[in-house]
């Protein structure tokens, strides 16, 4: 364990020593639920926000960063609940909320770092806090879990102004199974300002 910590510290020291420019990014995030998440809430969401800090390396077109994001999925469902195993049938309006907070470390590679339009590919790795709440009548069924997850993404940075750049990315978020909770995934469409 000690060995890994020392390696990590040395790596970080090297990274900061060679780091050139840092970026602060604010993103507006939209989400398209996929897989199990889509089974629970299928509607596209325009409710999301993200903050990201990035450091670019001096010699290679690579950056490392850290982000905190918040995505909210919501759907009102009128479907009948029928569970022969539990011996329950229920009708009523269900209000389904799915809050995801991805906290990720990022590594990106840039293809045209000095250009006006700079495409990149990257990957995020970290934890997804997911709070899923179903309101039914006067009751609420809540599931909350911390998941391990990955977030590969493709994007482009556009040099639009002297004080900030614009960022457009498509990020696939995948939170792996945690405890009794299923895995979750959604495709994020992010528009941001890079300062």
């Amino acid at each position: 364990m000690k060995k890994y910590i020392i390696t990590l510290l040395l790596g970080l020291t090297g990274f900061y020593a060679s780091a050139q420019q840092s970026d602060f990014i604010l993103t507006y995030q939209m989400a398209l639920p996929l897989g199990n998440t889509s089974d629970y809430i299928s509607t596209f969401s325009g409710r999301g926000v993200g903050l990201e800090w990035k450091k670019h390396l001096l010699t290679t077109p690579v950056s490392f960063g850290f982000s905190v994001n918040w995505n909210v999925l919501y759907q009102k469902v009128d479907d009948r609940y029928n569970s022969p195993e539990e011996g329950i049938v229920a009708d009523g309006k269900q209000y389904r909320y799915h809050n995801t907070v991805p906290i990720l470390l990022h590594a990106n590679y840039y293809f045209n770092e000095d250009g006006i339009v700079n495409p990149f590919v990257g990957v995020g790795l970290g934890t997804y806090y997911i709070n899923q709440r179903t309101s039914f009548g006067q009751w609420a069924f809540i599931e909350q879990n911390w998941h391990f997850g990955v977030a590969p993404e493709v994007g482009v940075v556009a040099d639009v102004s002297s004080s900030f750049n614009m960022l457009f990315t498509i990020r696939y978020n995948h939170a792996f199974k945690a405890g009794n909770a299923t895995d979750h995934s959604y495709l994020g469409f992010n528009v941001g300002f890079v300062f």
Partner: protein, 226 residues
């Protein structure tokens, strides 16, 4: 300094935007109305053929006045009686047939209304702690239900209508040899609950609509598939 101000402005705008469009959920009291039913065995549901319905009145558990009047109760009971034969296709056993012992129903059905003010009630089929007397010959008259133990949930003053389908054969077997002063244990074959229908003008059409939904759930349960 200018950039810092811009960052702070953008950040607070984004958070404010997200906060303002956070989904709100239920808007009206009617959005909270639910119909829910529970049962123990699909085979039993398929086996029930006959019923006896307590038609005199609906039992009351309440600490408010938000309950149905006798006229409203009788209107609800008339609809329940009709739909037991219509939607559920069960055969009715009359009071005289029951009392003379010429017919023994599969189900003894009693309705109750619960209008509680911010306190909980508990619902636990199929084992029922029992009425002081549940109206079946030899067990006394219908009384007020008492709920205890197990699955609990809370209700505000909007109230609940419960439909209890008591399995006569199982209940009789369960209570063989108990003394007169002992409370019988009632075995429910099925129980339906309409939550949110009382005190919203105590609308009989609304309750009747809910009863139809519950009986449709019974048929869904009988089909036995998801």
């Amino acid at each position: 300094m200018k950039t810092l101000f811009l960052k702070a402005f953008m950040l607070s705008s984004l958070i404010a935007l997200l906060q303002s469009c956070y989904p709100g959920g239920a808007e009206y009291t009617s959005d909270l109305d639910i119909a829910i039913s529970r049962y123990d065995s699909v085979e039993s549901l398929r086996a029930y053929r006959t019923y006896y319905l307590v038609e005199d009145s609906i039992a009351v558990t309440s600490n408010t006045k938000d309950t149905l009047t006798l006229v409203q109760q009788l209107a609800v009971l008339a609809n329940v009686d009709t739909q037991l034969q219509g939607i559920l296709e069960l055969e009715k056993v009359t009071k005289s047939e029951l009392e003379s012992g010429t017919k023994v129903p599969d189900l003894f059905i009693q309705l109750s209304q619960i209008a509680v003010q911010q306190s909980g009630f508990v619902w636990q089929p199929p084992y029922y702690p029992g009425y002081p007397g549940w109206g079946y010959p030899g067990w006394g008259y219908p009384g007020y239900p008492w709920y205890g133990g197990g699955y609990s949930y809370y209700s505000y003053s909007n109230g609940t209508i419960l439909l209890d389908f008591i399995d006569v054969e199982q209940t009789t077997k369960e209570n063989e040899g108990i003394g007169n002063d002992e409370v019988p244990v009632l075995i429910l074959g099925w129980q339906g609950a309409l939550n949110g229908v009382l005190s919203r003008a105590n609308s009989v059409p609304l309750i009747n609509e809910g009863v139809d939904v519950l009986f449709d759930q019974y048929n869904t349960a009988k089909a036995g598939t998801e």
